[in-house]
């Protein structure tokens, strides 16, 4: 048994014989030609044939791996017609009177060199694309048929590296996995392997020896481990692990596209929390029905000065457009306390958690608040926006906020800038005061969203990041907090508005049934919790066992 360690880049376990991918390494000779025109014509015909092949590959990939992967081959088509690439090849043929094969090979080498000398790893990976298109042309010029690398029986394909074309041309039913001695995490081959769900390990180095060809191996694409001649115990362990993961994933996958409706027919808004647009892919791939908490702080934390209205507008608009008709609840600036931004020049405070933070900064510095609100209202024309305000404790605060919103809308009207009518305005419920006043607050807004992290801290008077030893005084399931959540939801319903939970507790699967029994209308959770929570809520009857569940609050 020989164990090799590489970098796992596409999860999954596979076992079978290793087959080294043999590339026909044709030696390209430089040959002087008498008739350059004829070579140019050969080159042009080869280009046409290559473009036709790539068109078929794009179609095949579109069916197997989707639109995004297919775009790669369309880009290869464009690269073949690139002016500089074409000019370099035709010039070589024309002035030096060399054969088309050599001109293509040499030009491909030069362009690949340009990319591989760049600093950026992503760009370096692109040299593979240039080599790929040049190799395709060379093959056509030699009159070779593009062969199927995978061979006849299913195997783990081993190679130094694989080009995207090589990968896509293989018969997927014959590939158990990829093990590469080189390779880039961002290479298209790796991306394709992930899209196709083929386990893959890269960067195994020289340990991946030719002599393993034909021998049985097992690979774990998650840990990057490759075991040649594995014993039975290793095989059993890895396959059990894979079976458990697959089963869990399959069950969750089945929930995509399913409605968020409880057994007794209540529809729940199952949303996701995000702190940066970079997480949007995860939100959409986990099929969240909306965004329940978009923390706008990233715009302020990532900048060295106040983000401008246009910068904010572009960021909000991009998120709204990607979410389409799905609701996006953007929370206005929530800095202060543990989130410090130097250019705000906030005063040093003994107790920042009780100090100048969140809405208190916004109401004290209306110019900062106005800029954000203008950006939000402008972006509202591009999607389904709701705005939420953090750290509310008093009714006057929301009344003042609404006056500022009205002023902003009037400004935009005067400037003839479009915005959506009737954008829902909501507040975070995260201070005990806001729960106690929730009956009054509910008449001022369109929704409540309970921020359980701060609500727990302010209710129990315990800092979660406080001194060691405080843990047992900071019970996140404390009945005091759970009672406040219930009361908030009741106040909301009495006023005819919806109430949701967006703090960490919303992702706590042991509380989902209780929150539903309390009548929560929305749960906004981390993207990876969306499907697990969906599976629970679809199996929950909110009226059954209600009393029993609510007894937890006693």
């Amino acid at each position: 048994m020989i164990a090799l360690q590489g970098t796992g880049v596409s999860a999954g376990v596979a076992s079978g014989p290793i087959r080294f991918y043999s590339r026909k390494q044709a030696v390209v000779k430089r040959v002087k030609v008498a008739d350059a025109e004829k070579e140019l014509a050969r080159y042009r015909e080869a280009t046409d044939a290559a473009i036709a092949q790539l068109g078929e590959l794009a179609e095949k990939t579109r069916r197997e791996a989707g639109e995004d992967a297919a775009l790669l081959f369309e880009t290869h088509q464009m690269m073949l017609e690139d002016l500089d690439y074409v000019a370099a090849i035709t010039e070589l043929i024309g002035t030096e009177k060399v054969n088309a094969d050599y001109a293509v090979h040499e030009t491909g080498r030069q362009f690949a060199e340009m990319f591989s000398s760049m600093e950026d790893e992503y760009m370096r990976a692109r040299s593979a694309d240039v080599v790929d298109i040049s190799t395709r042309l060379e093959r056509i010029l030699r009159g070779e048929k593009t062969d199927d690398a995978a061979g006849s029986a299913p195997a783990i394909i081993a190679a130094d590296d694989l080009s995207p074309s090589e990968t896509v041309q293989m018969d997927k039913s014959k590939i158990l996995g990829f093990v590469l001695s080189a390779g880039h995490r961002n290479a298209h081959t790796v991306i394709l392997a992930r899209t196709l769900g083929i386990p893959a390990i890269i960067q195994l180095g020289s340990e991946l020896r030719r002599e393993y060809d034909g021998r049985t191996a097992i690979l774990d694409g998650q840990t990057g481990q490759l075991v040649v001649d594995p014993d039975e115990a290793t095989k059993t362990y890895l396959f059990d692990k894979q079976a458990a993961e697959r089963e869990a994933r399959r069950k969750l996958e089945e929930l995509k596209g399913q409605p968020d409706v409880t057994l007794d027919g209540k529809e729940i808004r199952l949303y996701a929390n995000i702190s940066s647009p970079a997480i949007l892919d995860a939100v959409l791939s986990n099929d969240a029905r909306g965004i329940g908490l978009f923390r706008s702080e990233f715009l302020y934390l990532e900048n060295s000065d106040y983000p401008t209205e246009d910068e904010q507008f572009a960021a909000y608009k991009a998120v709204l457009q990607r979410m389409g008709t799905r609701q996006v609840v953007i929370r206005t600036l929530d800095i202060g306390a543990d989130k410090k931004v130097p250019y705000f020049n906030l005063p040093e405070e003994e107790n920042p958690a009780l100090g100048m933070r969140a809405i208190r900064i916004c109401l004290s510095r209306p110019e900062v608040f106005r800029t954000q609100l203008r950006a939000l209202y402008r972006a509202s024309a591009y999607g389904n926006l709701a705005i939420m305000f953090p750290m509310i404790a008093s009714v006057w605060e929301i009344q003042e906020i609404k006056r500022i919103c009205t002023a902003v809308k009037k400004e935009l009207e005067r400037e003839k800038i479009p915005y959506a009518e009737n954008i829902p305005l909501g507040i975070m419920i995260e201070t005990p005061a806001s729960v106690i006043m929730s009956d009054k607050l509910a008449r001022e807004v369109d929704f409540f969203s309970i921020g359980t992290n701060d609500l727990t801290q302010y209710t129990l008077a315990v800092d979660r990041q406080g001194a060691a030893g405080l843990e047992r005084f900071c019970d996140t399931h404390h009945p005091a907090v759970l009672r406040l959540i219930r009361r908030t939801i009741e106040s909301a319903h009495a006023a005819g508005i919806w109430a949701g939970i967006c703090g960490e507790l919303a992702s706590d699967t042991s509380l989902t049934a209780l929150f539903l029994a309390m009548g929560a209308d929305e749960l906004s959770v981390s993207a990876r919790s969306v499907l697990p929570i969906r599976s629970i809520l679809r199996a929950t009857n909110t009226s059954q066992n209600r009393e029993q569940l609510l007894a937890a609050l006693d």
């Binding site: 775009l71 880009t75 464009m78 500089d84 950026d120 992503y122 760009m123 692109r126 572009a314 457009q321």
Partner: protein, 86 residues
């Protein structure tokens, strides 16, 4: 000639696929569209040169549009970049 500044938002910068998309869009106009990054520049008909600029997320580039339809092409290309989250 029309020129505007654009800051790249795409986390992987202007690599093969986005460069290809931009080249396709620019081909709808008669004007020549040139991307300028620092001392280097490449027009959108030169896909490899464009990729070779190594434009990354957060880089601000100048986009030059020159030709008979530059007045309509420049704003259209700017909108295209924004709408497609380049």
């Amino acid at each position: 000639m029309k020129e505007f500044q654009y800051t790249i938002l795409d986390p992987v910068g202007m690599h093969a696929r986005p460069a290809g998309k931009l080249a396709k869009e620019a081909a709808n106009y008669q004007s020549v569209v040139t991307i300028v990054k620092g001392a280097k520049q490449a027009d959108t008909r030169r896909l490899m040169a464009l990729m070779g600029l190594g434009v990354k997320q957060g880089d601000t580039v100048a986009v030059r549009v020159e030709g008979p339809d530059e007045d309509t092409a420049a704003p259209a290309i700017e909108a295209y970049l924004r709408d497609n989250n380049f």
